[in-house]
Symmetry: C2
Subunit: 366 residues, 2 copies
């Protein structure tokens, strides 16, 4: 069930924009507004769209595969099926609902679909109005209930990491560890990973988004493990850098610098702060240690129904943080040929500062 208030907020936003209705095609937005949990196979294979009028009952449009699920999960929505496709259904619905100005999610509609929709709209005398980020803006500040779900995802993530870590021995491949992690996630009740698990040992760790390879893990080398899961719709995202056996001196040095940067980044977080400030605080620590040019990415990103969402923490981020936002704090140092170190926690922004969502500090303070 979804808080009635997000629908109310959305309807008020539609009225301010003089829109008669909004067509919601983005899967996480669809879930956020309706509670309907089905996911899209791809951008071409949708599990349905929402048609939210500024007044009156919102509609969930889908096909017969999802009929029962839609009715069960989105009880406040009128479920309509489109046996002859979405456009044919819209052709009958839009005039019936008196829609003259229709908003659509311009950041989640394919150009080819837009062209067909525009033809239909023109025939019906409906004006199409691109809207980007209308629902995303409602998603960015989390309610207590949403924060609790995110926290459960983070804690499950930690439990999975601990369990799998105990079984990691030198000679296992990056790919085997990644599979063990994703398998454990599912066994412990997660829907699945929120992104492809990264296990990058030794030199591979120098690539922030390395794909797990068949390279066996060695002793002493840094191993970057970046993993996230989905639980009850909400995502986690966590990175640890571990070493099997006696750690390389360099690895210890870098982990300490990155941890110091992470703490500095977190300390700079509170409501009202601009997204570039925590980034700068963390970056300054890494710069002062002489590794500034080896930290190429931003400090963090929002997490919620999507594993990457607003707000951003990076050098160019100009938006203010607000209480209830959830962000990752993930500084890293990547040395070509040697490897990488990244540490990532998730925090909720509060008026006074932040609340750390992770509770396991193993591997952080070495």
């Amino acid at each position: 069930m979804v808080a009635e208030s997000s629908l109310d907020f959305l309807r008020a936003a539609l009225r301010r924009r003089e829109l008669d209705a909004l067509l919601i095609t983005q899967p996480e937005n669809r879930r956020f507004v309706s509670g309907y949990t089905a996911g899209d196979t791809s951008v071409n294979e949708s599990a349905g769209v929402l048609l939210v009028p500024a007044k009156g009952t919102p509609l969930l449009l889908t096909d017969s595969r999802f009929d029962l699920q839609a009715m069960a999960e989105a009880p406040g929505f009128a479920v309509h099926l489109y046996p002859r496709g979405l456009l044919a259904l819209l052709e009958s619905l839009l005039p019936r609902l008196g829609v003259r100005r229709l908003g659509f999610e311009s950041h989640y509609l394919l150009y080819s679909t837009f062209v067909k929709l525009a033809k239909l709209a023109s025939r019906l005398g409906v004006e199409l109005v691109p809207q980007a980020g209308l629902v995303e803006r409602l998603r960015v500040r989390k309610s207590e209930a949403q924060l609790a779900k995110i926290e459960r995802a983070v804690h499950l993530n930690e439990a999975v990491f601990s369990e799998v870590f105990q079984g990691i021995v030198p000679g296992m491949t990056e790919r085997q560890v990644a599979h063990a992690i994703e398998n454990c996630m599912r066994q412990r009740g997660a829907t699945g990973p929120s992104f492809d698990t990264i296990v990058a040992a030794g030199p591979n760790g120098a690539l922030p988004h390395a794909v797990p390879s068949d390279r066996p893990l060695g002793e002493g080398e840094p191993i970057v493990i970046d993993m996230g899961l989905v639980l009850d719709g909400y995502c986690s995202d966590m990175t640890r850098t571990v070493v099997l056996g006696a750690p390389d001196e360099k690895a210890v040095e870098l982990i300490r610098i990155v941890r110091k940067a992470q703490l500095a980044g977190m300390a700079a977080i509170r409501a009202g702060v601009v997204g570039c400030e925590p980034d700068r605080a963390a970056r300054n620590v890494i710069k002062a240690a002489g590794y500034g040019k080896y930290f190429g990415h931003g400090l963090g990103h929002g997490v919620g129904l999507a594993v990457h969402e607003a707000p951003s923490l990076n050098r160019r981020a100009r938006k203010q943080l607000a209480a209830g936002m959830v962000v990752t704090v993930e500084p890293g140092i990547y040395l070509p040929g040697w490897g990488g170190v990244r540490l990532e926690n998730m925090v909720a922004v509060t008026e006074q500062g932040y609340r750390l969502l992770n509770r396991d500090t193993t591997f952080l303070d070495v």
Copy 2:
């Protein structure tokens, strides 16, 4: 490595359309044309695009995360990075390459990206020309090498099914079986599932796209298992309907009808036949048995780099089959409240008929 010939075909198609270049954004098309295997996280998070000029060296545009992978996997392509985004890079590349008419994949470009691209194009005096299916048409008939890869995926699929099936006992949940299947796929070397595995027992089987639930499997009831994997980029897709313990009489009756329909559908396949004909042949068997209205979906679909691609086998399919196409043949009967039966094999179309890609007939003839 990719056969040079698909690039040549593509360039010839561009010249026929008087296009100076094509921008390829669709992930499977990108892989098909370049050999570059990275996948997109989502339609918003691309691992890169191709810019294929009608003459001269093709380009692969990506970001620093994928630099080394792109160069290793697409040796015939000039790899360019876009640290300031794709549009900034295109702004310098398009004039340098003398592009005046640029094709783009209208079925795989978001409307919001199109708007930005159109502004850039207008500034540069470049004409944007929507192109849907240009590369897809090159993908639809498979080469011998591609058929061999698909066949390996099908055989691995069968091996995974056999291994997991031996461990299935009453009381296990649908979800546990689905996880065991996906875990086994990865352990045996698949990249992962080609779609979310379906395990639907008893009444759940009446939904063709049921999501695995925590319902325990019972004895005697039909269990629909629809699974596919990705191996070396190519997909498999296979469905079996199994029964634990002594089968329900109804289940045996329906499995026999569906198998007869499958054989009739396959027998109607050969180059030159229109896609609705095998569908009709299979459907007639199910209709004759009195279950016509319980077979609601089409008979099959193409499979290749994508698990759903051209051609279609269904009532409305008007395109002719050609040698080298690969399709599923998957009739089913779905009785609300009771459950479902579906059997799915993959075949390659030949001049004279078809070649069955599956070799395990367990569970088909009961």
